[in-house]
């Protein structure tokens, strides 16, 4: 499955002469959620411990049909996380139907995915920067068993990515 990269390209001076172009890539994929008409785009983030869903994505999902809440022990407040400039609390859920990772030719069902639903909105939701899309992290069942191969396009120099599930 091909994952897409995006991001700004920085240009830095090279003491050997000229300049070096520095891509700031992200790997994107599409994730089909239960009950959804079409997939949502997501960032594959190997630095993220778990998978995160922003509220505008998870809110239409049905409690008890698409997912179930996994409660923290009594007295334990929802933990706080931070992604980019967005700080939020979250709760854990288990999906009751498979999520599907997909591109334009491949679909991979991922059952029993456990993920985090962000609560509240980013503080600057309406006034500054857009919230992040779905963050696909390491644990929880979406990436487990997969292999992410990172390469470089020999012609253009862009970063390339392939996500495989052998």
């Amino acid at each position: 499955m091909t994952v897409q990269n995006t991001g700004p390209v920085l240009t830095v001076a090279d003491p050997r002469g000229g300049a070096v172009r520095v891509p700031v890539p992200q790997f994107r994929c599409l994730v089909q959620l239960p009950g959804g008409l079409f997939p949502k785009d997501a960032v594959i983030d190997t630095g993220a411990p778990i998978t995160w869903f922003p509220e505008n994505v998870w809110r239409p999902l049905r409690d008890g049909v698409d997912f179930e809440w996994l409660g923290f022990p009594p007295g334990v407040p929802p933990p706080v996380a931070r992604i980019s400039s967005w700080q939020f609390t979250y709760r854990m859920v288990r999906f009751l139907a498979p999520l599907t990772l997909m591109d334009y030719s491949t679909m991979v069902d991922r059952p029993d995915v456990v993920a985090a639903f962000a609560a509240g909105n980013p503080p600057a939701y309406r006034t500054s920067k857009a919230p992040p899309p779905v963050i696909v992290g390491l644990w929880g069942g979406l990436l487990e068993g997969g292999r992410l191969a990172v390469g470089r396009d020999p012609a253009g120099g862009q970063v390339t990515g392939e996500l495989e599930f052998p």
Binding site: F38, D41, E55, P60, R91, A119, A130, P131
Partner: protein, 103 residues
């Protein structure tokens, strides 16, 4: 409130947007993946080739794509979907909406 009552502490504005989107969806035929997929493909191929937004002027924004072109931007993906679906007269899910991190 208890931890099993998640709705009470959430921003009602999202519910309001979702209700408006559902109203709008009822006015139009449900699009097919065959209609929507080419826009995702156009976007992702442009990203991969570095041709979609080489100056990264969409950094920090949500971008709406329809028929292989950018039709609008906003910081709020739900508002963007609602606004552009109304302007274009299409089912809201016909639009491809993506988000770019700030540069």
């Amino acid at each position: 409130m208890t931890e099993t009552e998640p709705a009470a502490d959430l921003d009602p504005t999202i519910d309001e947007y979702l209700a408006r989107l559902r109203e709008l969806e009822a006015r139009y035929p449900v699009p097919t993946w065959a209609e929507v997929m080419p826009d995702w493909k156009w976007l992702h191929e442009g990203m991969a080739a570095g041709t979609f937004d080489p100056e990264y002027r969409y950094g920090g924004l949500c971008v709406a794509v329809y028929d292989r072109r950018v039709v609008g931007t906003d910081v709020d993906p739900l508002l963007l979907r609602l606004t552009q679906a109304r302007e274009l007269g299409v089912h809201p899910e016909r639009l491809v909406i993506t988000t770019f991190y700030p540069a």
